[in-house]
């Protein structure tokens, strides 16, 4: 998949409060569907749809043992979000540096004249 499409999936998956809470819970350790669903006042099929979006984005992965499905974090995809945000931060930092330089230059010109 193209990198932009991967980022679309990742940021879409992160765009919902329920899904972010699930990721927060999974960062503590793997959990089953019913453990993950417990804190939410939501019909199970609706909740499972949120897990589907997370699984589709590959921010999480699941394993089924017998009748119980366990979810865990898949850290690799988090880097997609992290890299995008880092690149934006670098851009803005560089822009602020240039702005800072430019204002200093204006100040110097003013004191020269």
């Amino acid at each position: 998949m193209a990198q932009a499409a991967v980022a679309d999936d990742v940021f879409y998956a992160l765009s919902n409060a329920t899904r972010r809470k699930v990721l927060e819970q999974l960062s503590v350790g793997p959990a089953t569907v019913s453990e993950l669903a417990a804190p939410f006042d939501m019909a199970l099929p609706s909740f499972v749809q949120h897990l589907s979006v997370l699984e589709q984005s590959r921010l999480v992965k699941s394993k089924k043992r017998g009748r119980v499905r366990t979810y865990e974090i898949a850290p690799k995809r988090f880097k997609v979000a992290e890299d995008w945000l880092t690149a934006r931060r670098h851009l803005w930092e560089a822009r602020l540096d240039r702005f800072d330089q430019y204002v200093k230059q204006l100040k110097d010109q003013e004191s020269d004249s």
């Binding site: 919902n16 569907v33 099929p45 749809q49 589907s52 589709q56």
Partner: protein
């Protein structure tokens, strides 16, 4: 090609409507996200927060609905069959791109067909379930009622497009 498969009334939810509008408008209302947003979610329940549809076999179907409490629930699936102005099939049993999905959920396959009838269109929505238990669970969760309301909203929306 567009041969119908046998319906099992114990597993399949069928709803049929005559729409007083040409087939091309019915197709547009069914396949364009800006139209889906107008009818997909019963207005008394909430709204469609986000809709994406890549109308080709394997393409994405993604409709996020938001309830009155603002709680958003995604509907994610894969389009299986596209015959413009005739037949659209998608399933929540697969992720987009035919990727095998996790299905602890109640998956459905939805078949929407349309046929010109005079100046109007005969429209049929069929929702297939895995088994009777899934169908019963979906009924209990209000899926059937919601789908009936959505189809009525769909018919009204298509008429307003004329």
């Amino acid at each position: 090609m567009s041969k119908q498969f046998k319906i099992n009334p114990k597993l399949d939810f069928v709803i049929e409507r005559f729409i007083d509008a040409p087939t091309r408008l019915v197709w547009a209302a069914l396949t364009k996200p800006e139209h889906l947003k107008e009818w997909y979610m019963p207005k008394a329940y909430g709204r469609v927060a986000r809709a994406e549809m890549d109308v080709r076999p394997g393409g994405i179907l993604s409709i996020d609905i938001a309830g009155a409490d603002g709680q958003e629930v995604p509907n994610l699936g894969c389009i299986l069959e596209v015959i413009p102005m005739e037949r659209l099939v998608w399933t929540s049993m697969l992720f987009p791109g035919y990727r095998p999905a996790v299905f602890d959920d109640i998956p459905i396959t939805a078949i929407m067909t349309m046929k010109s009838e005079g100046a109007g269109t005969r429209y049929v929505f069929t929702g297939l379930h895995r088994d009777e238990a899934d169908f019963e669970k979906n009924k209990a969760l209000g899926w059937q009622e919601g789908t009936e309301i959505a189809v009525d909203q769909f018919v009204a929306h298509v008429k307003s497009m004329k």
